[in-house]
C-alpha cells in the first residue's frame, strides 16, 4: 500500500482511464472487426461474398423482414458475441477441470497485457498516451508474449484427448523456435535506437525518419541508406516470426483444422472457445502494434505537426492528439489486413519445414544481421 499512497491520484486515474480506453474502446472492437474483416476478405479472395446481411432481428418480434440497421453485415460481430454468450458452456467429463478453466484466461491475458507498454499516441490532455511508459518496454513485450504459449499448452494438456495434446506440443516447439528469431531480429533496431523504451523508439523515428522508410523526415543520408539493408532483413524476419508467434497461417500448426480437428481448442465450447479466439486476435493486434512501433514510426505521420504536453491541453492540440492515435491504429489495421491477406494466400507448412525454416534460416539470418548492423554503426560513427 505504501507504493500506491505515494502516487498522485491524477496519475492513477489517468492510467485507469487509458487502460479502459485501450481495452474496451479500441482493442475489443478492433478484435471483433478483425474477425469480421477476416471473414469478409477471405470470402472476397475466394470469389464469395461473406457475411453481408446481419441486421436487427425484427422478424423475431413478428415483423415481415429483419431491419437492416447495419450496412452490409457490420452487425455480424455483435451477433457472434450474442451467440457465444447464449451457447451451452460444456465441460467434458474427462478433462482436468482446474487447468481446463485456467487455459482460456492464460490465452487472453498476456495478449492484452503486452498492450500496456505500446505507445498508441503522443499526448492527450497532458498525458502520454501509453499505459506504462517503462524503460524495459521491448523486453516486457517479449517476456509476456511468450507466456501466451502456456494457455495453449495447458489447454492441450488439460483436455486429456489426443488432438488438443498434439496441438499443445506443436505450439510449444513452434513458439520456442520462433521466439529466438523474433528477439534477435529486434536487436538491430535496438542497436540503432540505443534504448529499450518504446516511446523513445518512436521519438527516434520522429527525429530521424521511420526505420523502414528513412526518408520520412525529408532527408536521406548515406548512413541511413546503408542501415536500410539490415533493417529490411530485420523487418522481414520479425514479421515472419510474428506470424509464427501468433499462430497465423502459414504457421498455424497448433490449430491446423485439417489435421487436428481444431488443435488445442477442440474440447472447448461457447465463451471459453471465444476467449481463445479473442486471445489469438488480441495477440495479432499486439504483434502488429509492435511492428508499427519498431519499424513504421508508431503514431507519427510525416508533414503533420506534433503536439507536446502543454499544447495537448488546448483544443487544437487535443485534435492533433486524436489524429496521432487514429494514425497509429490505422497503421495497425493495415498490418492486420496484411496478416489476413497472407493467411488466405499461403498453404500451411509441414512440421519439419517449419522447424527447418526457424532454426536453419531465420535464426542464422537474424544473428548475422546483428553483426552487419553493428559493423555499419561502428563504421559510420
Amino acid at each position: 500500500m505504501d507504493f500506491f499512497s505515494t502516487l498522485p491520484l491524477e496519475l492513477m486515474a489517468a492510467s485507469v482511464a487509458k487502460t479502459l480506453f485501450l481495452v474496451f474502446l479500441v482493442v475489443l472492437p478492433l478484435v471483433s472487426y478483425t474477425v469480421y474483416a477476416e471473414r469478409r476478405v477471405s470470402a472476397l479472395i475466394q470469389d464469395r461474398l461473406g457475411p453481408n446481411r446481419t441486421g436487427f432481428p425484427t422478424s423475431l418480434l413478428g415483423f415481415q423482414k429483419d431491419l437492416q440497421l447495419f450496412l452490409g453485415g457490420l452487425g455480424q460481430p455483435v451477433a457472434d458475441a450474442m451467440k457465444f454468450m447464449l451457447k451451452e458452456e460444456f465441460t467434458p467429463g474427462h478433462v482436468n477441470h482446474f487447468y481446463f478453466w485456467l487455459a482460456p484466461v492464460l490465452a487472453m491475458v498476456p495478449a492484452l497485457s503486452t498492450l500496456a507498454v505500446i505507445p498508441f499516441g503522443n499526448f492527450m490532455f497532458g498525458h502520454k498516451m501509453v499505459v506504462a511508459d517503462v524503460n524495459v518496454g521491448i523486453l516486457y513485450v517479449f517476456a509476456i508474449a511468450s507466456i501466451g504459449v502456456y494457455g495453449i499448452v495447458i489447454a492441450g494438456w488439460a483436455s486429456n484427448s489426443k488432438y488438443p495434446f498434439l496441438g499443445g506440443i506443436r505450439a510449444s516447439s513452434q513458439m520456442i523456435s520462433y521466439e529466438l528469431s523474433l528477439g534477435l531480429s529486434a536487436v538491430p533496431v535496438l542497436l540503432i535506437i540505443g534504448n529499450l523504451n518504446l516511446s523513445d523508439a518512436i521519438q527516434y523515428q520522429v527525429n530521424n525518419g521511420w526505420l523502414l522508410l528513412p526518408f520520412t523526415d525529408g532527408k536521406l543520408t548515406a548512413r541511413e541508406m546503408l542501415l536500410w539493408i539490415p533493417l529490411m532483413i530485420s523487418f522481414v524476419v520479425f514479421t515472419i516470426s510474428m506470424f509464427a508467434e501468433t499462430n497465423r497461417l502459414p504457421f498455424d500448426l497448433p490449430e491446423s483444422e485439417t489435421e487436428l480437428v481444431a488443435g488445442y481448442h477442440t474440447e472447448y465450447s461457447a465463451m471459453k472457445f471465444a476467449l481463445f479466439f479473442l486471445g489469438e486476435y488480441a495477440a495479432m493486434i499486439a504483434g502488429s502494434s509492435l511492428i508499427v512501433v519498431l519499424f513504421l514510426g508508431g503514431w507519427h505521420l510525416p508533414l503533420l505537426p506534433i503536439n507536446d504536453i502543454e499544447s495537448s491541453m488546448t483544443l487544437s492540440g487535443s485534435i492533433l492528439g486524436l489524429v496521432h492515435i487514429t494514425t497509429f491504429f490505422a497503421k495497425v489495421a493495415c498490418i492486420l489486413i496484411f496478416f489476413i491477406w497472407v493467411r488466405w494466400t499461403l498453404p500451411r507448412f509441414r512440421f519439419d519445414q517449419l522447424m527447418k525454416l526457424g532454426w536453419l534460416y531465420l535464426f542464422e539470418i537474424a544473428l548475422v544481421n546483428i553483426f552487419i548492423t553493428a559493423g555499419i554503426l561502428a563504421a559510420t560513427k
Partner: protein, 176 residues
C-alpha cells in the same frame, strides 16, 4: 517396394521462396479486386433466391411416404428400411389394415412410421431397399424445428410431405 519420387530441380529464385510468395499474394489480390469491382459474378443470394425449380429428378431431400394412384398407402410395414437405415433413424410399428378395407386380409400397413430427421443422413438406402416403392426422398432440404420432438416426422407428416406418386417408378421402368 520403396521408390524415390523425383523432386523438380528448383532454380535459385524458386529456392528463395519470397518471389513465389509475392506472386501468390498478387493472385489473391487480383481476385479481391475483381470481386470489389463487381467483375466476378456471384451466383445466388440464398434465402431470397433459391434454385428449387432446377433441382434434378434424383435429388435426395427428406425421405417421405407416398400413396399410389388409388389413394392407398404403399407401405406394407415390412421394416426393410428400418433394418437398412445406417443411422437407425426409422422406427416402424407394424399394424393391420382396418377390417372394412377390401385389402384387409391381403396387405398390412404401418400403425406408426417415425423418421428422426435429426438422425437422417439423406443416404437414400430406404428408397433403394423398399420393395413396394413406398418411401421416396423428395426435394425438401430445409427441415427445421424448434425442438427435438418436432424433428421426428410421424406418419401424418410423412404422407403430407410425400403426396401421391403416380404410375411405375423410375428404377423398374425400362423406358426411363
Amino acid at each position: 517396394m520403396a521408390y524415390t519420387v523425383r523432386r523438380p530441380n528448383l532454380t535459385f529464385w524458386e529456392k528463395l521462396y519470397i518471389p513465389n510468395i509475392i506472386a501468390g499474394l498478387l493472385i489473391t489480390l487480383k481476385h479481391l479486386k475483381k470481386m470489389l469491382n463487381g467483375e466476378t459474378k456471384v451466383i445466388m443470394q440464398y434465402p431470397e433466391e433459391k434454385w428449387d425449380s432446377q433441382l434434378p429428378e434424383y435429388y435426395r431431400g427428406a425421405p417421405t411416404l407416398v400413396k399410389d394412384d388409388h389413394d392407398r398407402e404403399r407401405c406394407v410395414s415390412c421394416q426393410l428400411c428400418e433394418f437398412i437405415c445406417p443411422p437407425r433413424a426409422i422406427t416402424i410399428t407394424p399394424g393391420e389394415l382396418t377390417s372394412e378395407s377390401k385389402f384387409a386380409k391381403v396387405e398390412k400397413a404401418p400403425k406408426e412410421f417415425l423418421i428422426d430427421m435429426t438422425r437422417c443422413i439423406y443416404c437414400g438406402l430406404c428408397e433403394e431397399v423398399c420393395p413396394e416403392q413406398a418411401i421416396y426422398l423428395r426435394k425438401d432440404y430445409a427441415i427445421t424445428g424448434e425442438n427435438r420432438a418436432e424433428m421426428v416426422h410421424d406418419k401424418v407428416k410423412l404422407y403430407e410431405l410425400g403426396g401421391v406418386m403416380h404410375g411405375l417408378v423410375h428404377k423398374w421402368n425400362p423406358d426411363k
